[in-house]
């Protein structure tokens, strides 16, 4: 979830080797998006990037689904921040997802704030930003929009749909809703539903945003202000859940920013300064209402709920999809038992599933970092799936 966590640099040459392309696709009023809430959105826009080249038989397309605060800039440099993509450990030349082999697609989710339609977009009926008039969206709604994009790109079957965290939930939703349109599915550090603790942390974040006087009932954009303080606090609280106790201790301990205590409420400890920085840099790149809508979509996510509470039923039609599920030992946001619940349901559905719990003390964000076991597991899974597909 933390796109600032990546640390790999990229040369201009590497960026060219990525063969980056993309843009924003607009669906006309003839293609409205029916939402789970019952509302309908017409004229939606989906911003996306692609890397690599679609092969002749259109069998090498991979859709990457991003996490809560991620975006479509998975590999190439981000146009506004200039920072490298959020998953350069996994996507790029010589990486498990390689533009030399795969046609990689990543789109900004519906409800997002990086070019796809969301609460910061202009409501055609009022000519002003949607704000809270934007309909509540869900993970299945996001996936429906992705499916429209994939179809518009002329791809009948995705070779793989891949994602971590909220992206992993979209992967599971793809398997439930469009099993015939995916050959393999890779779900990392994710869960089949949001737990009470997950919802609780998100509620803290939303309350922080809404308690900021500059939030103005969600109308801040029209009024020319921004609830930066509230959003920063939301990000600070959430960021703790992406790390782990040992990782925080190792990185910061009780180290001070300066010699001696301030005997006041400045950021005495390095960990305080770090969190303040995380909060402050986040507000530059994220819209507060988007944060409310996307965290809501996550909280509403419960894949089994549409299947009488039986998760296995969600995967009943996905028996022919090759699945790989990964979790991390120190992830307490979506801990290993969540991954195991997915695996159990896939086994019960008779699907072909592999599962690895990766040793890491880096918490939930481990999926964004250089974890050699993750890298080799993903490469092994994708390469063998490619051979199996070629043999068909």
């Amino acid at each position: 979830m933390d796109k600032d966590a990546t640390d790999a640099g990229q040369s201009a040459e590497q960026t060219r080797a990525l063969a980056e392309d993309g843009g924003t696709i607009r669906f006309g009023p003839d293609q409205p998006l029916r939402l789970d809430s019952g509302a309908s959105l017409s004229g939606i826009e989906i911003a996306y990037r692609t890397w690599g080249v679609l092969n002749a038989d259109r069998s090498n397309a991979v859709l990457i689904c991003h996490a809560l605060t991620g975006d479509q800039h998975v590999a190439g440099a981000h146009p506004t921040t200039g920072k490298p993509g959020w998953w350069t450990q996994m996507v790029g030349p010589g990486r498990p997802l390689d533009p030399a082999k795969h046609f990689i697609i990543c789109s900004n989710v519906l409800g997002g704030c990086n070019g796809s339609t969301g609460p910061a977009s202009i409501n055609p009926e009022t000519g002003k930003p949607w704000g809270l008039a934007f309909p509540v969206i869900t993970i299945p709604d996001m996936v429906r929009a992705q499916a429209m994009l994939v179809e518009a790109l002329g791809i009948e079957t995705l070779f793989s749909v891949v994602g971590g965290s909220m992206g992993g939930m979209q992967v599971l939703q793809w398997a439930a809703d469009y099993p015939e349109r995916i050959f393999s599915a890779l779900c990392i550090a994710s869960a089949p539903r949001h737990s009470a603790q997950n919802i609780a942390f998100h509620e803290v974040g939303r309350q922080a945003v809404m308690a900021d006087p500059d939030w103005r009932g969600g109308e801040y954009a029209t009024l020319g202000v921004r609830p930066e303080k509230g959003l920063a606090v939301a990000r600070m609280a959430a960021h703790i859940t992406y790390l782990s106790e040992p990782a925080l201790q190792r990185k910061f301990g009780r180290e001070l920013q300066r010699d001696g205590l301030s005997w006041g409420f400045d950021a005495d400890f390095q960990v305080e300064s770090y969190l303040r920085h995380q909060g402050a840099s986040f507000v530059d790149r994220f819209d507060a209402n988007s944060y409310l809508y996307i965290t809501r979509a996550l909280d509403y996510f419960d894949l089994a709920a549409s299947y009488d509470g039986l998760l296995a039923e969600a995967f009943r039609k996905a028996r022919d999809v090759r699945f790989c599920v990964l979790s991390f030992t120190s992830d307490w946001l979506y801990p290993t038992p969540e991954g195991r619940a997915i695996v159990r349901a896939l086994n019960a559905a008779g699907a072909r599933v592999s599962f690895v719990e990766i040793q890491s003390d880096k918490g939930h964000d481990a999926f964004l970092l250089d974890e050699p076991v993750m890298r080799s597991a993903v490469a092994g899974f994708l390469d063998s799936a490619a051979s199996a597909r070629a043999a068909k």
Partner: protein, 210 residues
């Protein structure tokens, strides 16, 4: 002991002979996937694995195998009834916490189970204990008592009586010895309980149509 990664192990060859082509097989404690690989090539089985070690699971993935990280004591419950034709537990039964429960789980999730284990009544084991008064260290029991993962060693006779109490059919049995090919035996004969260094059983639930 964890199942050895040595491909071409004698019990692997014996297992290969027992499995019917195209069957659905779950290999519990599949290691680096050597047996599953062999079964896939030799018998075109639809194979799945359960393996405790993450690095091994990762190697299995690279081989194109579908393997779930987990162990026999805790994670067999995740598999539905009769999901497989065969469940294989090779040289692992003596290392699990609940061998009786694991054995009945095998025959819940699969129609047939293939189980191998070292025979603690082999004459060399008996002799070591009798003559030296120490925990035996033989070819198949190669580690000192304080190092070994073997916590539930049993004899051929112990195992056949467990099968009886669980109401399981013994469809076939073979004696295994290092460097020799498997030898079909009648496990009920007392002499085999002296002679077999290790044994491999093909089990099924009573009442299963052949």
């Amino acid at each position: 002991m964890s199942p050895s990664e040595a491909a071409g192990r004698e019990d692997f060859r014996a297992i290969l002979g027992m499995v019917s082509p195209g069957a659905r097989v779950l290999d519990i404690g599949c290691g680096e996937g050597a047996l599953l690989d062999m079964l896939g090539r030799g018998k075109q089985v639809e194979g799945r694995g359960l393996e405790i070690d993450a690095a091994n699971v990762s190697l299995c993935l690279a081989r194109g195998l579908a393997v779930v990280q987990g162990d026999a004591d805790h994670d067999l419950a995740d598999f539905p009834n009769q999901a497989f034709d065969y469940a294989v537990l090779s040289q692992t039964l003596q290392t699990v916490r609940q061998p009786r429960q694991v054995l009945s789980e095998l025959l819940r999730i699969a129609d047939r189970a293939i189980v191998s284990f070292p025979n603690f009544a082999h004459w060399r084991v008996r002799w070591e204990l009798l003559s030296r008064g120490r925990m035996p260290m033989t070819g198949v029991l190669s580690q000192a008592w304080y190092e070994t993962d073997n916590i539930h060693l049993c004899t051929l006779r112990d195992f056949t009586s467990l099968c009886e109490s669980l109401d399981l059919n013994i469809e076939a049995c073979a004696a295994l010895a290092e460097g020799q090919s498997a030898r079909a035996i009648n496990p009920q004969r007392p002499i085999e309980n002296w002679r077999a260094e290790a044994a491999l059983f093909l089990l099924s639930r009573k009442g299963l149509a052949a």
